[in-house]
Amino acid sequence: VFGQGAGHEEILEEIEAILIQADLGVKTTQRLLDQVRPLVETNQIRDSTALIEKLRELIQKQMSLHVSPLKLNEKPFSVVLIAGINGVGKTTTTAKIGNLLQATGKKCMFAACDTFRAGAVEQLGIWGERLNIPVITGSEGQDPASVAFEAMKKAQKEDIDVLLIDTAGRLHTQKNLMEELGKIQRVIQKNMPAAPHEIFLVLDSITGQNAVHQARMFHEMLKLTGLVMTKLDGTAKGGVVFGIQEELGLPIRFVGVGEKFTDLQPFDPQSYSQALFE
């Protein structure tokens, strides 16, 4: 039919623009469009609205495959390790998760294992005060692994249900700091072989394709059990996480939607996929 060919490419290009601007990345976007191209070319999908709905459904379906229960009922207690690059929201997220678990009746404890950054221990300490959650701290510059070790001992003593370990921000390219993280994990494991039961990488939703590198390196060092996306109350869509999940198969555990300790939600593939196209 006259002009039909041009229509197909235009529809696909319009959607390509949306997905790339949502930070899905070129390759991930290509893969998604390749899946729907046959439908467009055979006119089963005739306009961008229909294509958006098809893709939204595809994305939601795919992300729903990576849902698995959290290990937060372990005995004697569960250990959650929070990691990520600088400034993404680890400390705030630690507080938010503590609040969430406490509301379900779990006795929580924080370990302030960022012994490096100015004001870091104090920052988590204030969250602990606000939430009435005890915070284990070490001395300035103390080996974070030894603070983690002390926290494990304390959690055992105090009959804690969940120990949340906040760590210092570090770039995935800083070899010594990544090894420090590995050491923290090993020290925890030595004390309790199944721990840490949950190892979260916190990602800032505004991050571009570098998030893929972050995820790969942190996963390689720690064997992550989940991702947390923060700052989704901003304008960024966090599209990069879709490709990360495709590649590493990691569940997205929570999303941060603000700076208050209540600003945490479970990840919902439906609203995430919908927001990508808004």
Binding site: I20, A118, L171, G208
Partner: protein, 290 residues
């Protein structure tokens, strides 16, 4: 990186006497891909590739210069130009008067740390760091420690209105003969009307000579909207890209330069206060191209 990719894409150019529409088509696709993978804004990529295409078509290939090399250097030149040019005048502050710097940006971008880096960099001006982030837990304590590490004076007034803190900080700096006052503010979303209005009020009270937006080097497609909003509301005077010591390609630099037309002054290259280097368009362009 891109230069290797171009070798393959333009190998069919060999033996030709100039770059043509036809023989650079594949190469331009590679350029587009490289820029998108580097997080350069999607619409800006379209514009940049078109600019390059227009510059490249008809360019004669000098003897001994590979077509791929020629195209790559055209691309590189174009990026350097978009980033403010090869020899931007390095940011300087004269010692003869007082200077006021207002730090602004999104949450976690590196404002507090960068404020300390600037204080250390301009040590000779006897800088004063003023704590106007009244929201983040331990923000004041963080800046106090940073000030100590930078050898700078420090002013805080607890949770007072940031406008008051700015005025009081200026008064303190005046009486201690400090010639550089750096005001650290809370991180905020560019869409947060109340907090953006707070910043507008702080600006009016503080009357800064420099309004520096700190932006994370690994910011994705949204960099352009963020920079535009901060610039429209505040008329920023410059940008500092933080966490440039990672392996992010840093395409946000291009987006920010293009949309604000304000200079990128420094790159943050580490967590310690000596982790600050003058912006180099050449180096950032090379990195974007990968």
């Amino acid at each position: 990186g891109l230069s290797e990719k171009l070798q393959t894409a333009v190998s069919k150019m060999s033996g030709q006497s100039s770059l043509t529409e036809e023989n650079i088509k594949d190469a331009l696709r590679d350029v587009r891909l490289a820029l998108l993978e580097a997080d350069v804004n999607f619409l800006l990529v379209k514009e940049v590739v078109e600019q390059i295409r227009q510059k490249a078509v008809g360019v004669a290939l000098e003897k001994g210069v590979q077509p791929a090399q020629k195209l790559f250097s055209l691309v590189h030149e174009q990026l350097v130009e978009l980033l403010g040019g090869e020899q931007p005048t390095p940011f300087q502050l004269s010692s003869g008067r007082q200077h006021k710097i207002l730090m602004v940006g999104l949450q976690g971008s590196g404002k507090t740390t960068t404020a300390g880096k600037l204080a250390r960099y301009f040590k000779d001006l006897k800088p004063t760091l003023v704590a106007a982030d009244i929201y983040r837990p331990a923000a004041i304590s963080q800046l106090a420690t940073v000030a100590k590490q930078a050898g700078a004076d420090f002013y805080q007034a607890g949770q007072k209105d940031p406008v008051e803190i700015a005025r009081e900080g200026l008064a303190k700096a005046k009486e201690s003969n400090s010639r550089l006052v750096i005001l650290d503010t809370a991180g905020r979303l560019q869409i947060d009307e109340d907090l953006m209005n707070e910043l507008i009020r702080v600006k009016a009270a503080f009357e800064p000579d420099h309004i520096l937006m700190v932006l994370d080097s690994m910011t994705g497609q949204e960099a352009i909207k963020v920079a535009q909003a901060f610039d429209e509301k505040l008329n920023i005077t410059g940008v500092i890209l933080s966490k440039a010591d990672g392996d992010a390609r840093g395409g946000a630099a291009l987006s920010v330069s293009k949309v604000t037309k304000k200079p990128i002054l420094f790159l943050g290259i580490g967590e310690k206060l000596d982790g600050l280097e003058l912006f180099s368009a050449q180096r950032v362009a090379s990195r974007i191209l990968g």
